[in-house]
């Protein structure tokens, strides 16, 4: 028990990889470095797929690229609806990033979404986008009026929503990734062969991708609610 909790503690802590020696030293955490690796992988995939694009006589590679982009965009557009088309590229980027981050544990990296700082940053980005979209689409007067809908007595709850929404977004993602990780560690101690591989399919692949989908779905739900 003591050994396990010490190990969990060590996994919970995000280690500092190196320190940038300016402004009194900026710590660069492991999650940031893994995020850079994910960005590099995504950029390399994009470059590979978008070389030599043509209008006629397309290559197989371009066909695959077009298929991926249309499917991804179509999926996000289904969630947010016709009027929120401007947000589709941002939401698909977030979907790709969280999806890749969650399944990166399979390749021996620490998933960056297991660091609470990363999920807090993602949730803050989402809530700022939601409120900014409301302000931009409705104008300040109608945006303020949204707080006393449907009745004026709901105002405190509507204001509380601004705090609870990002909190539930970041805690859901963090808790799911951490929970899957802890259960996998316990399984590896109990049964070291074969069984972890089966459960890894559910916890790492299915649950990771599902949580990415849920995060984007909730963000798009909030946005479409804010701009209507």
């Amino acid at each position: 028990m003591g050994g396990l909790s010490a190990r969990l503690m060590e996994e919970l802590n995000c280690e500092t990889v190196f320190t940038i020696p300016i402004l009194g030293g900026i710590d660069v955490y492991e999650s940031v470095v893994v995020t850079w690796i994910i960005s590099a992988v995504l950029i390399l995939i994009s470059i590979f797929f978008t070389r030599n694009l043509k209008v006629h006589n397309i290559s197989k590679r371009q066909a695959i690229a077009e298929l991926i982009v249309t499917k991804l965009m179509g999926m996000v557009e289904n969630m947010i609806g016709e009027e929120g088309k401007a947000f589709v590229p941002y939401l698909s980027t977030i979907l790709l990033y969280i999806g890749f981050a969650n399944i990166f544990g399979l390749f021996g990296f620490k998933p960056p979404t297991k660091d609470l700082n990363v999920t807090i940053a993602l949730a803050l980005m989402s809530i700022i986008l939601v409120e900014a979209a409301g302000l931009y689409y409705l104008g300040i007067k109608r945006w303020l009026h949204k707080f006393i809908e449907p009745v004026a007595i709901m105002a405190p709850f509507n204001i509380l929503d601004i705090v609870t929404r990002p909190m539930s977004l970041c805690m859901r993602l963090f808790g799911n990734v951490l929970g899957a990780f802890v259960i996998m560690e316990l399984l590896k101690i109990a049964v070291p062969v074969i069984v972890p591989a089966v459960f890894s399919c559910y916890f790492d692949l299915f649950d990771g991708l599902l949580q990415a989908y849920v995060f984007v779905f909730l963000t798009s739900l909030y946005i479409s609610e804010a701009i209507e």
Partner: protein
């Protein structure tokens, strides 16, 4: 230590609600598919989404139990 373990156990009791909720949702989804098999694709998507949202409460319980064990030790 033993009281901490009891506390963590009590915290996870909250997962009961998530279990009941997901059970009800799955039961209703089964009924819906039985009534309208052609809509099974839409129903499956909605069900998975609802389960993921309901599961979040159980996840909160788990995080709290973990925090009790790790932080209060």
């Amino acid at each position: 230590m033993s009281l901490l373990a009891v506390g963590a156990g009590i915290a996870v009791v909250g997962a009961l609600g998530a279990g009941i909720g997901i059970g009800i949702a799955t039961g209703k989804a089964t009924e819906a598919v039985a009534r309208q098999p052609e809509a099974s694709g839409d129903i499956r998507t909605t069900l998975i989404l609802g389960c993921a949202l309901a599961e979040a409460t159980a996840i909160y319980c788990f995080v709290i139990a973990l925090m009790i064990i790790i932080m209060l030790q």
